[in-house]
Symmetry: C2
Subunit: 349 residues, 2 copies
Amino acid sequence: MRSPGIGPVTFRQLIARFGSAAEALAAVPDLARRGGGSAPRLFGRDDAEREINRVDKLGARYLTLGQGLYPRLLAELEDAPPLLMVKGDLALLDRPAVAMVGARNASAAACRFARGLAHDLGQQGFVVVSGLARGIDSAAHDGALDSGTIGVVAGGVDIFYPPENQERQTAMYERGLVLAEMPPGTEPRARHFPYRNRIIAGVASGTIVIEAAPKSGSLITARLAAGAGREVMAVPGSPLDPRAQGCNQLIRDGATLIQTAADVVEELRPLETRVESPSVPFEPAGREEPDESVLGRVEELLGPSPVPVDEIIRLSGASSGAVQMVLLELDLAGRLERHAGGKVSLKDA
Amino acid sequence: MRSPGIGPVTFRQLIARFGSAAEALAAVPDLARRGGGSAPRLFGRDDAEREINRVDKLGARYLTLGQGLYPRLLAELEDAPPLLMVKGDLALLDRPAVAMVGARNASAAACRFARGLAHDLGQQGFVVVSGLARGIDSAAHDGALDSGTIGVVAGGVDIFYPPENQERQTAMYERGLVLAEMPPGTEPRARHFPYRNRIIAGVASGTIVIEAAPKSGSLITARLAAGAGREVMAVPGSPLDPRAQGCNQLIRDGATLIQTAADVVEELRPLETRVESPSVPFEPAGREEPDESVLGRVEELLGPSPVPVDEIIRLSGASSGAVQMVLLELDLAGRLERHAGGKVSLKDA
């Protein structure tokens, strides 16, 4: 997972094909060569042990996709993080969760509303998940600190971002839970935030958006939640307030308008049974060895525009397993790009 | 229509049975007696001529259900007013109309929003209908005064209520249209407002609610619009503002959230063809003479709780025409109460 060029989807497919990380690591150089590239530099055993020691020293621990306490709803995502680092109260992972996201520059009124809503949802037994950002995120964590809150950070589990959140995040190590996908010490960058957002949406059975401008990150989280089949809820506001227009548009697009915790509970209670269905993150796949002709056909079908994998399989006339194997090889060779919705394209040579 | 105890539904049924007002008036005393009451005091020819003269002198005129310029959408209501008095630009009755209603004590921001929305809807070719009340109503009329606006008053067409609306209403005699159901000189009372609201909702193909508290008159108008199969639209607001909670609840209940005139146009354009379908307000009914046994059975089936007329017909085993006739007799005898949704009950003796 720490080797460059291996994302969550590739990781999942490698484990599914080779059964274990050790066997997958052994196979990667050969796969990459067959895909027409050079072998990626692999993350070594020493690197891994150094990171594990560091996580230990931080008082954090790993959660592994499909095992133990790993959040069951998050495991349903196609691109679920194979590894998470968590620090805090692990019992919070076993309770129904609702995400609350919104503007960093939210109005004082909206922050007060978010704090109250988070508190009330806590009283109803929900863990409140958010992103430890300024504005709505901070208000949501504060409102739910006594009842249970999970903060998903974009950088390492030990990094305070924004810096003024140090006190809040430290309190959540003690009384809440802080969760990260990136290794310790990682300073968050712009590209990390959408990945962080998919975890916020993925951990929760529903996402509530409060004060989100059009095209804001909160709307991305809402879209990710909807894409994962989760409930999307939004708090309305005056059309005269630009910070409300994103939420109002979400409601027009089908999100549920909510005004109170009771509205949220009404929306989420019927879903709770869903949480019980176990997921199978590493479904074993056949180990077909594709002939060269499949590689050729798949390469022909791919181009710079994203195409659904299903369509490649259909048009190639080859078996699903053979096509997936070729895609894995191209991926490891650094020649494939994976997009949302199971689409793939060839990278520019 | 001016005789006491004869409402729009009874009026419509009398005309349907007897073909003309003259024949209906002649039959009423006998019908009332058969229903077990005394004959109502009828509005005489002299009374009628006095009123007609007064309407003439005011520069107003009558519109008659099912004839001429009478608004086609309004005629679709089961309890459409048989007579309307109008003063102003009659051409406005021939254009697509949208109603805007809301709080009398609306915020300055909401009034500004209403004025802008009314103006923009006017630019899109819609006539804006409202109730000439304080707050949102006034703002809506003002925004649409140049493009076309209809004010429906609860009292007589010549009465200014609230008094500070005199200037606005006078301007609308000139450049808009003022519409009333009550005879000239009638001061509006509390019970008149729901009747007024059904006209606002009935004239328009959709009703927009802006800032309405729970249980407000604006929500009644929205309910009447929905009951008449019209579009209900609402402008959202912060859940922290009590004046927004009614609108937010409407949206939760299925009203369309709107933020701009474009949102309204998108909602209403597909309906415009509907306006073309002619209605048949006075469908001729058979003149069955029910035997006494039907009267007895219907009286048995009726009680103080409202029951659908359809159910009375089914349970009585009599024909629809015979039951309707008996209900008409009970009505004229002052013993029947008609409720929304085609329900009836017996009045306390």
